[in-house]
């Protein structure tokens, strides 16, 4: 029972990473009918940006140039990484995808993969092959509840992730720009006729998705403090699968699917040899998709006709 609860806590943490990353895939897919295959690498970039900001701020603190408590450094790290990474995402949209808006979808998909490889190899070239250790920004304290051990970082990660997801959902459901994002998901050819600047919506979507991926990147660094240039690949693909499973453009579906992914990761590895982890979890997902080809909350029909 205790290991079970322990696993639940870990699964929630992993699920937070997957869900945050998956939301970026899902929003872009919803708005532009485009799989941004560079998104896993944007998560990596966000994590590295967070690494540099945290290291820099901690360095300045130890030198006595600034004096900030750990939690302030943590919040600054998250916010600055989110902002800077959102610019990276918007740049990817502007340079990589916008010129291909009317090109076949395959061209955009290949472009995304290439941009991802550029991020990975640029990182390798600039920073070298050695892995980076994410600094400990706040002292970890461990709570024992029965035999379940909880750390303050884990609680922080899960709660803040959920808050971000809630904020995104509120934005999409209750603001004018969120309404335009939902309209794009239904029929993007008519949206300009409403006077809505489609390019701004595209940039906004990339920016929001990249900011959430950066948050996931920082949280990942706090939890598993080793970063490497290829970290975006596996987490990116799994989050992509979660986005498909959640249903195109559905925030709630994507969040549920992200957490499901986290639970599969942890629980499959508990009861089966860990080498079989991805085999078994992806098989389960394939079965689900067979019965729900549009995902949990996907729409079977969407009007994407030419005007």
């Amino acid at each position: 029972m205790d290991t079970f609860l322990q696993n639940v806590v870990n699964a929630l943490q992993w699920g937070s990473f997957y869900a945050l990353i998956a939301l970026g895939y899902s929003m872009v897919y919803g708005v532009l009918m485009l799989f941004n295959f560079a998104h896993g690498d944007i998560f990596m970039v966000g994590s590295y940006i967070g690494f540099f900001i945290a290291t820099g701020l901690i360095g300045l603190s130890t030198l006595g140039i600034i004096s900030l408590p750990g939690w302030v450094i943590l919040i600054l790290t998250i916010l600055i990484a989110m902002i800077l990474t959102s610019f990276v995402g918007m740049l990817v949209e502007r340079i990589g995808y916008r010129p291909l808006r009317n090109a076949p979808r395959a061209s955009a998909a290949i472009t995304g993969l290439m941009i991802g490889i550029i991020f990975e190899t640029a990182n390798l070239y600039l920073l070298g092959a050695s892995r980076r250790k994410f600094p400990e920004i706040i002292d970890t304290s461990i709570f024992q509840i029965g035999n379940v051990s909880l750390t303050n970082t884990k609680i922080f990660i899960v709660i803040i992730s959920l808050l971000f997801m809630l904020a995104l959902n509120q934005f999409i459901q209750h603001t004018k720009w969120g309404m335009a994002i939902r309209a794009m998901a239904y029929d993007f050819t008519v949206v300009p006729l409403m006077g809505v600047p489609v390019n701004t919506i595209a940039a906004l979507t990339f920016g929001l998705g990249s900011a959430l991926a950066a948050a996931a990147g920082v949280f990942y660094g706090m939890a598993y403090p080793v970063l490497d240039p290829y970290m975006g690949i596996e987490y990116g693909w799994k989050s992509f699968v979660a986005a498909i499973l959640g249903g195109r453009g559905s925030v709630i579906g994507t969040v549920i699917a992200g957490f499901l992914m986290g639970f599969l990761d942890i629980f499959v590895a508990t009861y089966f040899p860990s080498t079989m982890r991805n085999l078994i979890s992806f098989s389960i997902i394939l079965v689900i998709l067979t019965f729900r080809p549009h995902g949990f909350f996907g729409r079977a029909y969407s009007a994407q006709l030419r005007l």
């Binding site: 309404m179 939902r182 300009p192 006729l193 409403m194 729409r299 009007a303 005007l307």
Partner: protein
């Protein structure tokens, strides 16, 4: 001249749909373009809204400005041209009210927008009852009401209407045209495209007849209604 179109040529892939048509709409007018299926009516409106690229040599000016310099969303938000597309094209996943709010996305005159919502609900009380309902769950006629309602709260300088009467009961059709006339009186110029030639010509003061991508006739509505060729081809004898 508010809108002036000269030698407009538009192609789909390599098939030409408009062979260099020219027409004009003056400020405050109601003008219609009539024509059979596939004549190129919707294509004309799409070209004005900048949803379709035009061939070199085509000229489109609105209030003296070159239309081709504007992105589709700017045609709405900066020039004030709204377009009710063929086949409703509502956002089915949005509520009735959200569809209206989205149509008013670019408008800054909040008070006037509120007044226009009221106007929509006055013309179509049914929409007010169904304000919170998803648009895709409306009946066909109700969807058409919403499509027209969206135009009423959208940009107000000029309105392009692609078969607004489609799928509406005759009584409601009357309401729609009454509402459009009211808006026209307040200063919105209207360019209407219709297969239902009789109705369009009764509503508009002038008309153009489009055939296979060419304008073959033009004139005052009374004259077109009385024209034997028009009678034979478009008014059922």
């Amino acid at each position: 001249m508010l809108l002036s179109i000269e030698n407009l040529q538009v192609s789909y892939d390599r098939i030409r749909a408009l062979h260099g048509i020219s027409f004009e709409v003056d400020e405050g007018e109601i003008v219609c373009i009539i024509g059979a299926n596939g004549a190129g009516k919707s294509t004309t409106l799409r070209a004005i809204s900048r949803l379709m690229p035009v061939e070199p040599g085509s000229k489109m000016t609105f209030m003296g400005q070159d239309l081709t310099a504007f992105q589709p969303d700017k045609v709405v938000s900066q020039l004030g041209i709204s377009h009710v597309p063929e086949g409703r094209r509502l956002f089915g996943n949005l509520t009735v009210m959200e569809n209206l709010e989205l149509a008013a996305f670019a408008r800054k005159d909040r008070q006037a927008v509120e007044r226009d919502y009221k106007l929509v609900f006055k013309v179509f009380p049914r929409l007010e009852e169904r304000m919170k309902q998803a648009a895709e769950t409306l009946s066909g006629g109700e969807q058409q009401m919403l499509a027209v309602g969206r135009a009423l709260v959208s940009a107000r300088k000029m309105m392009l209407l692609d078969e607004p009467s489609m799928g509406l009961a005759p009584l409601l059709m009357g309401n729609v045209f009454d509402a459009l006339r009211e808006i026209n009186k307040e200063g919105t110029t209207i360019l209407l495209v219709e297969q239902n030639a009789r109705m369009a010509l009764k509503f508009a003061s002038r008309g153009y007849v489009l055939e296979n991508g060419n304008i073959v006739l033009e004139g005052r509505s009374e004259d077109l209604l009385a024209n034997p060729e028009v009678k034979k081809a478009y008014l059922g004898g």
